[in-house]
Structures are given as structure tokens and as C-alpha cells.
């Protein structure tokens, strides 16, 4: 039997150094007693293990082993060092050992690591600081036992008391409606008093304080603080963490001025109608309660809950209060709806007549409004963000009609801003048409898609969709009054012509719609994006630019 002594209960580096030697010397875990500084010397303790042979190979371990071992070293189980030694020993032959979570030793080490991580997480969560004033020159760290922190007998009121007092000012006058601007602000000086120290008492289950001090440094670097635990204390004064001996609960301050507010918050944020004490206890086990100021209210809150709910239910609905709210500067569409205009007004006035009398922006806005007001929109519209309406000047040289908005158009509410739109824009420029001469819109005004987890897959509109939106498109053409319409792709061609027609056969020819208006069909730019090989892509793109150029030339020649 050999024995080895580590410098501290969480001495990972010491363990690693020693374990390496042991594995190299071929000493099995059963033959080693691990002690920690301060442990009593065992009666039958062995001596130091022999040095490994000079030619022994350095032990090897997978990359995630040190992290696991580091955590396990912090566990309070006295067998932890032996367990880790055993794992390192076996890892020399069983390379994949750590992947076998069902191996008893691996399972045990994983469980220990999990417990340590949980303990650390609970420390981050449930540690509570209390503020104290420390006189100048008071011991910072490390502090001599048994009372490491100078707690003044008559603690000066903590800074928080001031902020409470500040808030106690009578604000009632202005607050009646809860809407009035509270009193003018005091100058913003919200820093803890220079001589204050934040002190916490915490009882971790494992040896985690040294490892977790860094968390509190990163979070509270500008404060001076101390964390006291039964085994160790940590003190921060802005430069470095000093570790001192363990402390007692009585060494930490007994109260803090902010706790009253915190407890009030805790009690108010609790919804008595959702009482789920088991869920609470699973996450905040009772053993933590004695150090949580808010926990003392839990029994009362739980006891009162059923009565509070019963009262609410028994009371039922209450008559509405007279509105006490002040003048409201709300845009019209946010106000509660006014009684509807008498039914039938719209019906006697045909849509065309109505829009004739409106100026262009008004006509556009009215189109959108009327579309949104329809209660027979196709069901898939519920999934779209918004209708995407046309953009461009009235009386343009060309009015482009695409299929439907895509993902980006749906999000931004503008037509032709997605990949196909950008390609169209480029082609338009190359064809010598300025954006000021073009109006763009879509045959279908909403984005139709199949949701697939994270992406929305474009879905082509069907005949029913085209028919539904067609009156809106015709109305739009009516007030845009373009020189020439250019339909992009099959959907637009169908919407304008009123029937299904083959784009590839008709592209590049000048046609007339049922009203006799000239239009010019070509392909949709998304077709170019879908072509697989670069050669046909380039060829088709050139053809598309050509089409646009020809459309523009035709339009210029039209009366």
C-alpha cells in the first residue's frame, strides 16, 4: 500500500501529476491511499510510491478526460481520486472507454461530474450577497479565523436604505392614473458606497468555491465581495481573489436593506392559480431555503394560494371601470373600431368608379385595405406576414407582373427584393430601362409556402389562388395605367390573359388581354436561378435581357 497526499481537496493538478507517475510505474488503483492536506495520517499508511522507470511511456487520455477529471476532483466523495486513477489506468488500453456511458466506472464519474456542475450552477443561482460597510483599514483578505469579516455591531445603513428612502417620497399626487410622468429624476449616482462590501454565506455540497470564484469576479469585478463557506472563504478587492479559511454562518451579515423589496417582488411575481410546489422543489431543493431570504415566504404563499384563487373565481367578472386614461394620441388604425359604415355602400359603387376618383397613392392604399378586409382569403394566407403590394410610378413605361412574393418580400413587405428580384433588377439595368420607368407587382399578393422547420419553401399558387387575386390585379392595372404590361412567368401570364397559356411558346410576342390592353410575356427570373448549369444560365439570362430590351422598345413605340 502506498499513500499520496494532495495539497487541497480540489487539487486536480496534484492528482494529475501523481496519477501519471502511478500509471507509468504500473501501480494499480487498489494499492494507493489518497489523502488531502489536513487529513489524519492513517494508522497503517504506506510510503510514497516508487518513481516510474525512466523509459516508461507518458500515459495517454482522450481530450475530454481532463475536463471530466477536473470536475470529479471537486466532488466530496473520498473515493474520487481512486476512481479517476482507475479510469486513467484503463484508458491506456481501452481508448474508447469514456464513450461507454454504461460502464459502471464511467457512469459513476459522469454522475459525479454532473453533481459538481449542478452544485456550481446552484451556487451561481442561489448565493445571496448582503451589503456591509467596512471601516477603513478593515481586514480584506485573507482573514484570520474565526471571524473573517468585520461586521460592525451597529451597521451603518447600507446604501440601499438611501435608495429606498428616496423612493419613499410622496409621489402619490401624480401617480393616480399611473400614467403621469413621475417626479423629475435625481442625478444618476447609483454606485455602492466606496466602503461597502458584499458578503455571502453559502454551503456548497462539493469543493467548488475555488473553481467558481472566477464567475463572481467576472460578474462583480467592480464590487468588493467575500464569499464565506464552511470550508473556505474567497475575498475580492478588485485585484485578485484571496482564499482564506472557512467561516461560520454568523460571520456573514444577518440582513440587507434590499431584502424587503426582493421578498415583496418574489411574493408578487408568484401566480397563485398555478401552484406547482413539486416543480419548485425539484429546482430549488429545500436545503437551499435557509440561506435564501425569499424562501421564508414560501409556506405562507402556498397556504394562501387556494383561497386567493377561490376568491377570484367566486367573484367572477367585474363590471368595467370607467376609463380613467388620458387623451390618447393613437393612430386611427389602433383605435377600437368604430361602428361599421352601413352595409351595401361599397356594393352600389363599383370598385373601378371608386378608384377613378382617388389619387394614385390613395388608390394603392385602398387596394391593400380592401384586400385585407376580405374574409374569404385563401386559408394559407394566415401563415403569411403581410400582403405585398406593387411599387413604382403611375403611367410607367413598363408594368412588370411577377408570380407572388417570396420569403424576403414577405418579411419586408416590398416586391422584388429577394434573389429573383435582384436578378430582375440587374437585367433591367442591362436592358437600358431605369427603375423610374418601371412598376412592379405580383399576380398573387401573399407568400404561399410550405413550412419545413426552419425554412419556408415556396409553393406555386394554384388556379384558385390566381382567380382570387385577379380582380385586385386588374384594378391595379386600371389605376397604374402602364404603356405596356410585361408578365413574368406562367402565373402572371394566366392572371393577365385569364387562361392558362404556355410561356415558352409565347414569350417575346405582343399580345392583348381581354380588355384589349397590350402585354408582353416572358419568363420569371426565378426560372433563371433554378437552371443547373452555368452555360444555359448565361444563355437564358442574355435572352431575358433581350426580352426586356425588346419590351421597352415596343413600349416606346406604342401610343
Amino acid at each position: 500500500m502506498y499513500s499520496l497526499r494532495l495539497a487541497a481537496p480540489d487539487d486536480f493538478d496534484g492528482w494529475r501529476e501523481a496519477a501519471r507517475g502511478l500509471v507509468m510505474a504500473g501501480i494499480p488503483p487498489e494499492e494507493v491511499d489518497w489523502l488531502v492536506e489536513g487529513d489524519p495520517v492513517p494508522l497503517f499508511g504506506g510510503g510514497a510510491p516508487p518513481a516510474p522507470p525512466a523509459d516508461a511511456l507518458q500515459p495517454r487520455a482522450p481530450r475530454d478526460f481532463p475536463e471530466l477529471a477536473r470536475l470529479v476532483c471537486r466532488h466530496r466523495d473520498p473515493a474520487r481520486f481512486t476512481l479517476l486513477h482507475g479510469l486513467l489506468h484503463r484508458l491506456q488500453r481501452e481508448r474508447g472507454l469514456l464513450d461507454d456511458a454504461a460502464d459502471p466506472a464511467v457512469a459513476r464519474a459522469n454522475a459525479m461530474a454532473r453533481a459538481v456542475r449542478r452544485d456550481a450552477h446552484k451556487m451561481h443561482a442561489f448565493l445571496r450577497f448582503r451589503e456591509v460597510r467596512v471601516e477603513d483599514g478593515a481586514p480584506a483578505a485573507p482573514l484570520p479565523p474565526p471571524s473573517p469579516i468585520a461586521v460592525p455591531n451597529d451597521p451603518a445603513p447600507a446604501r440601499n436604505a438611501r435608495s429606498v428612502a428616496l423612493a419613499l417620497r410622496d409621489l402619490g399626487r401624480l401617480e393616480e392614473a399611473g400614467e403621469a410622468e413621475p417626479l423629475p429624476e435625481a442625478p444618476p449616482v447609483i454606485a455602492p458606497a466606496p466602503d461597502s462590501r458584499f458578503v455571502a454565506w453559502f454551503e456548497p455540497e462539493h469543493h467548488i468555491l475555488r473553481a467558481e470564484a472566477g464567475f463572481f469576479v467576472r460578474r462583480f469585478a467592480m464590487l468588493r465581495w467575500s464569499i464565506l463557506t464552511p470550508e473556505l472563504s474567497a475575498h475580492w478587492d478588485g485585484q485578485e481573489v484571496a482564499f482564506g479559511p472557512g467561516a461560520r454562518r454568523a460571520d456573514a451579515p444577518a440582513e440587507d436593506a434590499a431584502e424587503g423589496l426582493w421578498r415583496a417582488y418574489f411574493a408578487s411575481i408568484f401566480n397563485p392559480a398555478r401552484l406547482k410546489p413539486d416543480a419548485m422543489r425539484a429546482e430549488m431543493p429545500k436545503k437551499y431555503w435557509r440561506n435564501l431570504p425569499e424562501a421564508q415566504d414560501i409556506p405562507r404563499l402556498m397556504a394562501e394560494a387556494p383561497k386567493r384563487v377561490a376568491e377570484m373565481v367566486a367573484r367572477g367578472a367585474t363590471p368595467p371601470a370607467e376609463r380613467r386614461q388620458r387623451t390618447v394620441h393613437l393612430p386611427a388604425h389602433l383605435r377600437a373600431p368604430q361602428p361599421e359604415a352601413p352595409a351595401g355602400v361599397e356594393a352600389v359603387m363599383p370598385a373601378d368608379l371608386l378608384t377613378e376618383t382617388l389619387d394614385f397613392p390613395e388608390a394603392q392604399a385602398a387596394l391593400r385595405r380592401d384586400l385585407l378586409a376580405r374574409n374569404d382569403l385563401p386559408p394559407w394566407v394566415a401563415n403569411a406576414t403581410q400582403p405585398v403590394m406593387g411599387e413604382g410610378p403611375q403611367h410607367p413605361l413598363l408594368m412588370f407582373i411577377g408570380e407572388q412574393p417570396g420569403d424576403e418580400e414577405d418579411l419586408k413587405g416590398q416586391p422584388f427584393v429577394g434573389p429573383a428580384g435582384r436578378l430582375w433588377n440587374k437585367a433591367l439595368e442591362e436592358a437600358g430601362v431605369s427603375r423610374g420607368e418601371a412598376y412592379v407587382t405580383n399576380a398573387v399578393k401573399h407568400f404561399k409556402f410550405t413550412p419545413t422547420g426552419k425554412r419556408r419553401l415556396h409553393q406555386s399558387p394554384d388556379a384558385g389562388d390566381i382567380t382570387f387575386y385577379r380582380p385586385f390585379l386588374l384594378r391595379e392595372i386600371g389605376f397604374v395605367q402602364p404603356r405596356l404590361i410585361v408578365t413574368l412567368g406562367a402565373t402572371a401570364l394566366r392572371a393577365v390573359s385569364g387562361r392558362a397559356m404556355p410561356v415558352t411558346k409565347l414569350r417575346g410576342s405582343l399580345l392583348r388581354d381581354p380588355e384589349g390592353r397590350p402585354f408582353y410575356p416572358t419568363v420569371h427570373p426565378s426560372y433563371l436561378l433554378r437552371l443547373p448549369d452555368p452555360a444555359s444560365k448565361a444563355r437564358e439570362y442574355d435572352r431575358f435581357v433581350e426580352d426586356l430590351g425588346q419590351a421597352a422598345a415596343t413600349a416606346r413605340g406604342l401610343p
Binding site: 429606498v164 400614467e179 408578487s268
Partner: protein, 440 residues
């Protein structure tokens, strides 16, 4: 009014919002000044007896509101006492609570006063003071008013980690009926706007970091910051007649369309001063729980919506058993599954096996053939999985899977409050950090 009284009123007014997580943001700390840190992991600093996590100081700026949403305690026609914090009061409370390690940061929302812009401006001011005057590095979640000025939204995104807009009700028609001043379309447009900004900021940051590498040690390019923890929303369950199928459909649509980090479901809960349109009733907590489980199956377990719903009836989930078990009970022919051979997809379908456990089984299978005791060491509930799997030393008793009363045999013994393997423990109440300690 005393600060304490205000805090009580304005926390009480905020408690019906379920979205109190504090995870998934950028890493920051105060070693260079200021106060606070965020390390990616959300922390629940306390749990209320309702089992919900308390991570942030969740309050309203004011509970006065010009809107009249029937489900809301703060609606204009409610008789509740009104209060309002000053900007300074909220800032002080946040800092005082933060220094004592009570909270991760602030979740600030508000009733709508005067105008959407005015209200949003007040919220933004709180965030600005915390960040700029006090160097606050903790977490900030701001509720966003859909109609507010884009410039205000941009500033909100610069200060806040997360922004959120509540869709409130699953269907536009119910919103129209219960919240007449709200506009479902407007809410979607606002979410789309947030998504666009969040995406753009992310892209710009990615580009900036590429440039930084190219410049090898050059000064860090300042990329615009916009809500690094993304956006979330809340849907109230049980205030209208929407079915579970509709709710799940809407929520997966919201996830996909606006890249939401979370869609919170919140069982409609009785409020002290109920509106006639929505008389108080017990909140459908189990339903809320089942919805979360179903949502989890959809997003992380490869289930499709019809599969999840197949376990229930008439568009509603089975309340008695979790949706994964419900699916298994209706698809018994797919079982038993051989834990030593089945692929990942099939293992994920076994009631009682969570995603993490499945990955561990697959890794360990390379060196071992599983017996039941091996599964127990992975902390699998043998009682739960036994009817559905085979292992080296286990085959479900003959005909077990054909028994009509299998359902009663596998029903959770401890009633509906059981923790089961689909959801990481306590998911309802915790930020998303949990897989670490979850019993999966």
C-alpha cells in the same frame, strides 16, 4: 406611493408573461468596468411556488393601458390599482437586485400609455441608462410595441439582449374579439421586421469577424448590435377555442417564419378583475405542459405535426399521457425497438428515451451490447421503457404490446405531475440552458 407598493403592483401586473429566460446571448463581463456578466447559460435565481423560474426582474413600467384586452389584468376597463415607475426607480431596483445576485437582469414591459412611440421611448430609456450610464452588462429583455418608430426599435435592439412581441392568441379572429385594438397583421409585420434586423446584424458581425481575422489583430470592427439573444413570443392557451393542432401549427409557423428563439405557451389564468368576456376559470396547466412536449417533439425529435396529433383526438392532445407515449400506444406495431440495433430516429420514438440518452446509447453500442442494467446506469426508467424495447436480456412479455390495457399499465404512477423524458426537467419554467442537468 411607496416603492415597495409600486413594485408589488407592477410585478403582479407582469407575472402573466411566461417568457422570463435569460440565455443564449453574447458573452460579456465586467472586468473592464461596469456591472454584470452573461455567459451563455441562463440562470434561475429562484423558483416561485408556481414552479416558474425567476431569472429577471420582470416588471411593467406602468400598468396603465389605453388598450382593452379582455384577458389582461391591465386593460383600460379593469379596476386594478395603477402605478408607474420612474426610469430611475427601475434602474436602481435592477442594479440593487443585481448586485445582491438576486437576478440576471431586467425584463421590462409596459401598458400602452399616450402613444406607442411614447411608451417605447420610455422602455428604451431604461435600457439606455442601464447600459450607458451604469455600464450594465447583465441581461435585458424589452417588450416591443409593434407600432413604434423604427429608430426606437433600432435603439432597443442595440441595448437589449432579447426583444419580444406577443402574438397573444393563436388566431387573428380571436385577437380581434378579445383585444380589439391589437392587429394580428401588424404584430406579424413587426416580428418580420425584427427578424430582418436580427439577421442583418448577425451577418454583419460574421463578416466583421472574418475581416478581423484577415487583418490579423487589427482593431475589432464595430458591427451593429441587434438583440443577440433573438426574439420570442407568447401565446395564451385556453382563452379562445383554438385546438392544440391549430396552436402547434401557428407556433411552428412562427418559428419558421421569424426564427423565434421560443414560443411560450401560457395557460390562461384567472385574474383578480376579470372581464365579462372571459370569466375566471382554472388555468389549463396540463394542456400547456402537453403543448410544450408536443412542440419539443416537433422541433427536436423528428415528429411531424400529424404524428404528434395522432396520439390525441379531434385536434386535441391526450391530457393523460405525454404525446410521445400517446403516439407509441397508437403505433404498437413499430415496437418493440431493439436498443442494440435500432437507428437514432427509431430510438427517439421510444417513450422514456430522451435525445441525450439516445446519443449515449449509440456511442456506447460501439463497445457494448446493452442489457437492462446498462440502461439503468444511463438513468433510464426501466419501468417506462420496458414494454417498448428489447435488450440482450429483455423482451417484453408475450403479448404485452397487444394488451388492451397497456395504456393503464404505462400510465404515470404519480399522476400528471410526472417528469418525463421528453422535456428537460422543468422546461416550462427554465431558460433554455438546461440540457446540462436534465434527466434525459
Amino acid at each position: 406611493m411607496e416603492l415597495r407598493e409600486k413594485l408589488e403592483i407592477l410585478a403582479d401586473a407582469a407575472k402573466y408573461d411566461a417568457s422570463c429566460a435569460s440565455s443564449g446571448t453574447e458573452k460579456r463581463d465586467s472586468r473592464e468596468g461596469g456591472l454584470g456578466s452573461t455567459e451563455g447559460m441562463g440562470i434561475c435565481h429562484a423558483y416561485a411556488p408556481d414552479g416558474r423560474c425567476i431569472s429577471l426582474l420582470k416588471v411593467l413600467l406602468t400598468n396603465a393601458c389605453v388598450f382593452d384586452c379582455a384577458y389582461c389584468i391591465n386593460r383600460a376597463s379593469s379596476n386594478v390599482r395603477r402605478a408607474r415607475f420612474s426610469v430611475r426607480e427601475i434602474v436602481e431596483l435592477t442594479l440593487d437586485f443585481y448586485r445582491r445576485n438576486y437576478i440576471e437582469g431586467l425584463f421590462l414591459s409596459s401598458g400602452i400609455i399616450r402613444s406607442p412611440d411614447y411608451t417605447m421611448e420610455q422602455l428604451v430609456r431604461v435600457a439606455r441608462e442601464l447600459r450607458e450610464t451604469h455600464g450594465f452588462k447583465g441581461y435585458i429583455h424589452l417588450k416591443t410595441i409593434p407600432d413604434a418608430d423604427p429608430a426606437l426599435l433600432a435603439e432597443a435592439g442595440r441595448h437589449a439582449d432579447r426583444l419580444s412581441i406577443n402574438v397573444e392568441l393563436p388566431q387573428p379572429a380571436s385577437l380581434k374579439a378579445l383585444a380589439p385594438e391589437k392587429d394580428a397583421g401588424q404584430i406579424r409585420v413587426a416580428m418580420a421586421g425584427l427578424r430582418t434586423r436580427i439577421d442583418e446584424a448577425k451577418e454583419a458581425r460574421a463578416e466583421a469577424s472574418v475581416t478581423r481575422v484577415a487583418l490579423a489583430g487589427g482593431r475589432r470592427a464595430a458591427a451593429p448590435r441587434f438583440a443577440p439573444a433573438g426574439q420570442s413570443t407568447q401565446m395564451i392557451v385556453g382563452a379562445d377555442a383554438s385546438t392544440d393542432a391549430t396552436i402547434l401549427d401557428v407556433s411552428s409557423n412562427l418559428y419558421g417564419s421569424y426564427r423565434l428563439k421560443r414560443v411560450y405557451f401560457s395557460a390562461y389564468s384567472p385574474i383578480p378583475d376579470a372581464a365579462a368576456a372571459l370569466p375566471p376559470a382554472a388555468p389549463p396547466l396540463v394542456r400547456e405542459h402537453r403543448l410544450y412536449q408536443a412542440d419539443w417533439l416537433l422541433r427536436f425529435y423528428g415528429f411531424t405535426a400529424p404524428e404528434v396529433m395522432a396520439g390525441g383526438e379531434g385536434g386535441m392532445l391526450d391530457l393523460e399521457v405525454d404525446p410521445k407515449l400517446a403516439w407509441a400506444l397508437k403505433h404498437r406495431a413499430a415496437f418493440p425497438v431493439d436498443v442494440n440495433r435500432a437507428d437514432r430516429e427509431m430510438l427517439l420514438r421510444v417513450p422514456g428515451l430522451g435525445a441525450k440518452t439516445v446519443d449515449r446509447i449509440i456511442a456506447a453500442r460501439r463497445v457494448r451490447s446493452f442489457r437492462m442494467a446498462d440502461l439503468a446506469r444511463l438513468r433510464v426508467s426501466l419501468r417506462k421503457v420496458a414494454p417498448f424495447i428489447t435488450a440482450l436480456d429483455h423482451h417484453p412479455r408475450g403479448g404485452l404490446l397487444d394488451r388492451a390495457d397497456l395504456r393503464t399499465l404505462v400510465l404515470p404512477r404519480d399522476g400528471l405531475a410526472e417528469r418525463n423524458a421528453i422535456l428537460p426537467a422543468g422546461l416550462l419554467a427554465r431558460p433554455v440552458q438546461l440540457p446540462l442537468f436534465a434527466h434525459v
